[in-house]
């Protein structure tokens, strides 16, 4: 889960309560922010579930605490001043058509505020912004932006979001000293290299211009000219993305954080070719929640007054009417998709752990799945025959599954078959699903040559292979495999056990001679159960034994569990 870093002193100041660390941690836990540790300079590292993205910075966490303490109630929406600035949208890359923006004045940037803003920006990128693909934030020092004029407006405060050729213009990006084209940035700038994939397939690259020229290359990097630092007073916050709703919510969260720092939000006109909008969008939404639904979800009776209080202490506005609540939701709440999300808020405010658990008075009959019963019976039979029951991974490498056992994937011997391959495997040891279990048993023997013999091992497990006849192309089966590794193990020994298994399940076993590359010729047979060939039994070939560094003979079998049904 993501971690957010919070300076406890700043938090105390913004929340308005001078609580000692331990109390503060307990209050944070109540919000679902779990204390993970702290940095050398005492900054709290808090783990959080990625629903309340408004708590990705100290300002949002402080606001939640103030609600929890009851210092503030209901919905708060920052007031906004009318727009002076304007974003003209023209010829933007079709993959990234949306933009939103706000001006925030009087922030008076300090080191603490800047650090918090940068963290909020990064965490929003990582979560809602889907690593900048869905939404990317650019914050600029407004004093360094020179707006231009446009038809019918003499304020001269228009900037333009547009698309340019990869080598169509140049600017000095952050952390650089030379002019670079967007293509250069992707090639030579460390930040550019990191985010190059985002725009690699774009025909034109996103670009933001002011009257001086190109000053931002979203979603990759801003220009150095408009860089925000300590002392910056007024900010331009712009966001571009693939979804208008997403970037508007991200902007709302940033505006609330800057508002908490004393910034004054000022609207920005966004002029798309076909429509004009005003941003930021700080509109609240409403959803109605039935009183019954709250009571039945929490399993308790609640008074209306109490319920209203719980809503308000969750930072929600509420009007009660005839057994139902009209709940007003602030724009930073990206997680509320359904009235149940508001019931959850009431439960959290009430304190879920204050609820008395009760065992539901619901009667049902339990039972095992048929295949699970069969697996258990087969496993018990094997254990009764003295086999050590094993549990191996279903993922394996082609080398282990085929090569080291001496079989060819394309042949029709038992254990072969086209592999179900894993795309982007974790390591070369786990590149496919095993087609049979004997390779796993051979690996276990190989890893335990220092342990006492006899080693009689078995597994009732899973195997899979490609099958074009199946929708999805995978056929799965349960398999029964056993191996006797002992100085005197022979075909006779393993056949004897196989016979016992078959007899236990009332199955008719035949073992006609066969050849199998994993086994010694003349000492291998097909396992035929109830007239169907379902496996193989024999003495493992010395080639396979030596390959696995084994110095004792191994007699082994494997067959389909389903044959025992």
């Amino acid at each position: 889960m993501p971690v957010v870093e919070i300076d406890p002193d700043e938090l105390r100041e913004l929340a308005g309560h001078d609580k000692p660390d331990e109390e503060l941690k307990a209050d944070l836990f109540g919000l679902g922010l779990e204390f993970e540790g702290e940095t050398e300079d005492g900054t709290f590292q808090l783990e959080f579930a990625p629903d309340r993205l408004d708590r990705l910075s100290v300002e949002g966490v402080a606001r939640s605490l103030r609600y929890q303490y009851g210092d503030v109630r209901g919905v708060y929406v920052p007031s906004t001043n009318d727009a002076e600035w304007r974003v003209e949208v023209e010829d933007v890359p079709e993959e990234r058509p949306y933009v939103t923006a706000a001006v925030v004045r009087g922030v008076d940037m300090t080191e603490g505020k800047l650090e918090s803003l940068i963290q909020l920006q990064e965490k929003l990128h990582a979560t809602m912004g889907r690593k900048r693909a869905k939404g990317a934030i650019g914050v600029h020092d407004l004093a360094m932006v020179k707006g231009g004029a446009f038809d019918g407006d003499d304020r001269g405060k228009t900037i333009t979001y547009t698309g340019i050729d990869p080598d169509g213009d140049s600017f000095v990006p952050l952390d650089a000293d030379t002019e670079m084209t967007p293509a250069d940035v992707l090639e030579d700038h460390p930040v550019g290299e990191k985010f190059a994939d985002l725009v690699a397939d774009y025909e034109t690259y996103p670009a933001i211009y002011d009257d001086i020229g190109l000053f931002s290359f979203p979603p990759v990097i801003n220009g150095k000219r408009t860089e925000v630092d300590e002392g910056s007073r007024d900010l331009l916050v712009e966001m571009t993305g693939t979804d208008q709703w997403t970037i508007d919510r991200m902007l709302a969260i940033v505006c609330y954080a800057l508002d908490a720092r004393g910034g004054r939000i000022e609207e920005v006109d966004i002029a798309y070719p076909d429509r004009e909008t005003v941003r930021p969008d700080l509109e609240t939404r409403t959803k109605s929640v039935a009183h019954d639904c709250i009571e039945s979800t929490l399993g308790i009776d609640l008074e209306v007054e109490e319920t209203i209080d719980l809503f308000e202490r969750s930072g929600l506005g509420v009007e009660h009417d005839d057994g139902s609540y009209e709940v007003e939701i602030p724009p930073y709440r990206t997680d509320v998709l359904h009235p149940m999300d508001l019931v959850d808020d009431v439960g959290r405010a009430y304190g879920f752990n204050d609820l008395e658990p009760r065992y539901p008075d619901v009667s049902t009959v339990g039972g095992r799945h048929d295949r699970s019963k069969l697996e258990r019976a087969a496993r018990e039979t094997l254990v009764g025959l003295g086999f050590e029951d094993l549990l191996n991974f279903h993922m394996i490498s082609e080398r282990e599954n085929y090569e080291r056992m001496g079989i060819d994937p394309e042949s029709d011997t038992f254990g072969s078959g086209t592999p179900v391959r894993i795309e982007g495997p974790y390591s070369e040891d786990y590149t496919m699903l095993r087609t049979w279990a004997l390779p796993s048993l051979a690996m276990v023997l190989e890893n335990n040559t220092h342990r006492a013999y006899p080693q009689d091992i078995a597994e009732v497990g899973f195997a899979a292979a490609r099958d074009d006849a199946e929708s999805g192309g995978v056929t799965e089966r349960r398999t029964v495999a056993g191996a006797l590794a002992r100085p005197d193990s022979s075909y006779e020994d393993v056949k004897a056990r196989l016979q016992t298994i078959a007899r236990n399940f009332g199955a008719e076993l035949e073992t006609p001679a066969t050849t199998h590359p994993s086994f010694i010729d003349g000492r291998a047979a097909s396992v035929v159960i109830d007239e169907e060939t379902v496996g193989v039994v024999g003495e493992l070939h010395p080639r396979v034994l030596v390959e696995h560094d084994l110095e004792v003979p191994v007699a082994a079998f494997e067959f389909d569990l389903a044959a025992l049904r």
Partner: protein, 502 residues
């Protein structure tokens, strides 16, 4: 009376008047002395014989003594060599005599010392002369050696014997001799008649069928000694844990689910209201497979799920602002949780439509493309369970899980409000470790969202929870590295020696 072979033989050879030694009896009965000693103790315990112990000192020649008896005492050999060299008349250089005597090494010193002591002659300034009056042939020590060798040491002079012991030519041995005399009871028993009862090492089918077992004595074993180790088969400890969980849940009224490991993303994620651009759905976190799309998904259901993603559910519902494509939903991957099975069962696709109330569970493998280390595996078992009923509350959820975890000794469950895309409310479950007393995370739970249930056609409440089985095992057993247990790196000795789950 029936007695073992040796005891019968001993009784018959013993006398009521004449104490006989075990050795004598051994000769008489042809039994080994140690066998008879054992029998004698047994008979003494039964008051059939009296035992008397006598300690005897016996003399025996050492190897050196035996050699001198053969070759002659060194001093006598020196005397004879000197006499031959003419030392009876005049002194002869010592070196010359020694050369003739063929004495070697330490024998030379021994010869010289005793030569003088016994007055066989004189040694002065390297010259040697013999005493013509001496009579080495009648050397008392020599005679004693012969007498001891013949077992006839009774009349020997103590000084001579002491001297020989001192010289290391004779050894004194103390020996305990046991003498057996028949008691009156013994005589009576003999007169009434005793029979042989054989001792046997192994009870055989013949002994049993013939009835002979009634007349035999069983040789005693050392029952305290360790036996050769035997490693019988054992159910894998993780499997035992799984079985225990299954038993518990079946007992609580849960039915078991099974289903595909390689499944469509639709069942793994889309049905769970996981947006298609959710970070957990990138290929870095899941194991996608190189197979075909699963194109036979139920169209109606897919349509309802897509609608829930795009528009939400209910009059006040909102959808995700995320892309959604059927092709992504049809992609096949290894399931990252067994909630895919819950979706299949709840949808009615697996075993038909379900009417409340229902309880279902599974303990099955899931796959996560995460880090592989001591506490994380790429594939592990997930315990998944859900309860379907009208009007379930958070309190029912809490009561159910408290009951379940109590079965494994985990109590004081805490419910931390949490976020899952598919449940609301959601809780992480924390419990107190049974031995360390630490608070540990033990699962994730919640009530399925309407956005999940409504497309599946479920109109009542469903609460669900999940937990890694390995986590439960590690909590219960304190295993440090899960890789020792699960997978091909497993240690057979650990599996053989681990305590079973009782």
């Amino acid at each position: 009376m029936q007695l073992p072979d040796a005891a019968v033989a001993l009784l018959e050879s013993a006398s009521a008047t004449d104490a006989k030694s075990i050795e004598q009896l051994a000769t008489a009965t042809d039994e080994k002395p140690e066998t008879l000693t054992g029998a004698a103790f047994d008979l003494e315990a039964d008051s059939l014989v009296a035992l008397e112990e006598r300690v005897e000192v016996s003399l025996e020649l050492t190897d050196e003594g035996k050699r001198y008896r053969e070759d002659g005492l060194p001093e006598v050999r020196l005397y004879r060599a000197a006499a031959d060299a003419g030392a009876a008349d005049d002194s002869v250089p010592m070196g010359q005599v020694i050369g003739v005597s063929e004495l070697e090494g330490p024998e030379v010193d021994i010869a010289l010392t005793n030569f003088a002591r016994k007055g066989l002659g004189f040694i002065d300034s390297g010259e040697l002369s013999v005493n013509a009056d001496a009579d080495p042939d009648s050397d008392a020590e020599r005679a004693a050696l012969d007498a001891i060798a013949d077992g006839d040491a009774d009349g020997l002079d103590d000084d001579t014997v002491d001297r020989l012991v001192e010289r290391g030519l004779v050894e004194q041995r103390e020996q305990t001799h046991r003498f057996v005399t028949l008691t009156d009871d013994g005589v009576t028993a003999l007169m009434e008649g005793v029979e042989t009862a054989a001792t046997v090492g192994q009870l055989t089918p013949e002994l049993l069928t013939s009835g002979e077992w009634e007349d035999v004595e069983f040789a005693e074993y050392n029952v305290e000694a360790d036996a050769e180790p035997v490693t019988g088969g054992k159910t894998h400890i993780l499997r035992q844990t799984a079985e225990s969980v299954k038993d518990t849940l079946v007992g609580m009224g849960f039915q078991e689910m099974q289903g595909p490991h390689a499944d469509a993303d639709f069942w793994i994620n889309d049905a769970l209201f996981m947006p298609q651009d959710h970070p957990a759905r990138t290929h870095w976190d899941r194991f996608t497979l190189d197979t075909d799309l699963m194109t036979d998904l139920p169209d109606d259901l897919v349509g309802r799920v897509e609608d829930a993603h795009r528009n939400g559910v209910g009059p006040d519902g909102e959808g995700y602002h995320s892309p959604w494509s059927r092709e992504f939903a049809e992609e096949v991957a290894l399931r990252g949780h067994t909630t895919s099975l819950s979706m299949r069962y709840l949808s009615g696709e697996e075993i038909g439509d379900l009417e409340p109330p229902q309880r279902f569970f599974s303990v099955e493998k899931v796959y996560r493309n995460d880090t592989l280390d001591a506490t994380h595996l790429l594939e592990f078992f997930q315990i998944e369970g859900w309860v379907m009923a009208e009007d379930l509350s958070v309190r029912d959820l809490m009561g159910t899980f408290e009951e379940f975890y109590a079965q494994f000794g985990i109590t004081d469950i805490e419910f931390k409000p949490h976020y899952n895309p598919y449940t609301e409310p959601s809780f992480e479950l924390f419990g107190t470790h049974p031995t360390t007393g630490k608070i540990v995370e033990i699962g994730n739970s919640g009530i399925f969202r309407e956005e999940v249930l409504s497309p599946l056609g479920v109109e009542c409440d469903v609460m669900a929870w999940g937990l890694a089985l390995e986590r439960l095992l590690m909590l219960m057993y304190g295993f440090e590295d899960i890789r020792d247990v699960h997978g091909t790196l497993c240690d057979l000795d650990l599996l053989r020696n681990v305590e079973v789950l009782a």
